[in-house]
């Protein structure tokens, strides 16, 4: 792959400490080991990927939000980002939150993640109230997803390490192999392409086998081709884990391609507008977007979302 070649070149070109000025040689750091590397790495250990099946078997990852509102003080008074939302997501369901900016889709995701606290309403995951970010919910962000000061491997091993799991490095290797990046485990995250970084981000979030995976426009910053490949890969990974996924996007086709259910959100104030159950067979191949049913879903959701985009674009009231 192109990226891999680039990285190898950078490693070969790296020279350490030859002079003390600060030349712009982006490859020079790659050869050094990460500062906070952990000792006692067992290279041969491969952990038990059965944990994924366990998560599925237990039927975990059920999300119930009732009467969720989110208000905060803006410059012109109180802003209602989210207005009395009821949302119920089944264990193992893939739900896409779709809508124009300002519809509160990220707010809703952050509520589920425990990053924000709702102004009203109750939110539970597997009947336990959500109280702050916790290992029950893996999160993948659009930006600043990885810790730049840790190697790719250490990023993925971070979760298992924090939770005191045995053999965090072995787990990390398994997950990296799953996203096809086992050859890049020693690289710094910033040396990878955007798509590769997001794959590491997904691997890291899944390394603790969370019942819920929350994704906030994870492919929003990628180019169109990479994006399509990432969507396919995400579905493949998800089929192994079957965690509940809540996926925020403003890309209609992405939502239909990925999700079991597309929740279209509305603006002013933000909230739920309509739900469309996507009854397309799995596994889904990219060719499916040319099918008639896909097109029917696209037209249907396009009409729903168009009103909302117009409202956001040209607020009348």
């Amino acid at each position: 792959m192109h990226d891999a070649v680039e990285l190898e070149d950078a490693r070969c070109a790296a020279s350490v400490g030859a002079d003390w000025s600060r030349p712009s040689d982006p490859g020079r750091n790659r050869m050094n080991k990460p500062a906070l590397a952990w000792p006692n790495v067992d290279a041969n250990a491969v952990p038990d990927h059965k944990l994924a099946r366990k998560v599925r078997g237990l039927g975990l990852g059920r999300i119930d939000g009732t009467n969720l509102s989110m208000r905060f003080a803006g410059r012109t008074g109180m802003v209602t980002a989210l207005d009395r939302v009821d949302i119920h997501i089944k264990s193992g369901e893939f739900v896409a939150l779709l809508g124009p900016s300002g519809c509160g889709k990220s707010t809703l995701l952050n509520l589920i993640a425990g990053i924000l606290k709702p102004s009203t309403g109750s939110l539970t995951i597997d009947e336990k109230p959500v109280d702050g970010p916790n290992p029950g919910c893996g999160i993948v962000f659009q930006h600043h997803s990885l810790f730049p000061w840790m190697s790719v491997l250490e990023n993925v091993a971070f979760g298992p390490r924090m939770l005191g799991k045995s053999d965090p490095v072995g787990t990390a290797r398994t997950l990296l192999a799953l996203v096809g990046l086992e050859k890049h485990e020693k690289a710094w995250p910033t040396s990878l392409s955007g798509g590769m970084q997001q794959r590491v981000g997904i691997a890291r979030a899944l390394a603790i086998y969370p019942p819920v995976l929350l994704m906030d426009e994870p492919f929003g910053a990628l180019d169109a081709q990479t994006r399509v490949m990432m969507q396919e890969e995400l579905l493949k990974i998800w089929s192994q884990f079957n965690t509940t996924v809540v996926f925020v996007t403003h890309d209609l086709e992405e939502a239909i391609f990925l999700a079991d259910r597309v929740v279209v959100m509305k603006t002013l104030p933000g909230g739920l507008k309509h739900e469309v159950v996507i009854d397309l067979p799995r596994p889904r191949a990219p060719a499916i977007i040319k099918s008639e049913r896909f097109n029917a879903y696209r037209s249907e959701i396009f009409e729903i979302i168009r009103d909302e985009t117009l409202k956001a674009f040209r607020p009348t009231s």
Partner: protein, 248 residues
């Protein structure tokens, strides 16, 4: 031409202009030629006084720098995390910051006399503010996403601080250390000009009074070379140990 040839040319031209100027002035007290400085360097190296002065200055700089770092970094990080501490400290800091290290010298002599202690005090003051201000910026440089991600991966307060806050702040802290060390090195010479009986600053001052200009210049050159060397060492430390992940 490659870059080494250019670099070498720069040095040669500098020495050439210096030599030409000193020949035309023809007064070893006003401007001795480079070769006289080299001779002076060898002389001071042989009688051992230069090594003593260098050690005295280095000790003061590193001592003051170490104290300043040990105080400034934790204080700045604390200030970045707990706002009450910021409210508590920022008026005093804002007021003390514009006072140049040199202005502290009279007070330092009154408090600590002549010798090592006032020099430690001055180098510490000089290093403190660059380290402190950059570390505050570092303490605020953490991305919310990194905190959320770490917490969702099970990190507790201790791990959050050591594995997220601290590395996020490290690029800024490293910059502060580099600037702080430079300031401290400049301040030690100033302090020794007035408040010490050893060190490179004192050596320059003593030789000025003796009209040994070439020896004054030996002192200046050694200060320049050591300063560049220290900043180089810190640069390597930064790239290899403190922030190896940052691409320059």
């Amino acid at each position: 031409m490659n870059k080494w040839l250019w670099t070498l040319s720069g040095i040669v031209v500098f020495l050439g202009v210096w030599t030409a100027l000193s020949l035309s002035i023809d007064n070893a007290i006003l401007l001795p030629p480079p070769i006289a400085v080299v001779r002076g360097f060898v002389l001071l190296l042989r009688d051992g006084t230069l090594a003593g002065d260098i050690l005295a200055s280095l000790k003061r700089v590193l001592g003051g720098f170490a104290v300043a770092s040990a105080v400034a970094v934790p204080l700045a990080l604390a200030m970045a995390y707990w706002q009450p501490i910021e409210f508590l400290l920022s008026p005093v800091i804002t007021f003390l910051r514009p006072i140049p290290p040199i202005a502290w010298i009279p007070i330092a002599i009154l408090w600590f006399g002549i010798g090592d202690p006032p020099s430690y005090f001055i180098t510490a003051i000089a290093a403190f503010f660059p380290i402190f201000l950059n570390s505050i910026a570092g303490g605020r440089a953490v991305h919310a996403e990194h905190i959320h991600a770490a917490r969702s991966l099970g990190a507790g307060p201790r791990a959050l601080f050591l594995r997220v806050y601290l590395p996020s702040a490290m690029p800024h802290i490293a910059t502060g250390l580099r600037i702080g060390l430079g300031q401290s090195w400049m301040a030690v010479v100033t302090a020794e000009l007035i408040a010490a009986h050893s060190g490179l600053g004192y050596m320059i001052q003593a030789n000025r009074l003796a009209l040994e200009t070439s020896l004054v210049m030996v002192g200046m050159c050694v200060i320049g070379i050591l300063g560049a060397g220290m900043s180089g060492v810190l640069d390597v430390l930064e790239r290899v140990v403190l922030v190896p992940w940052k691409t320059p």
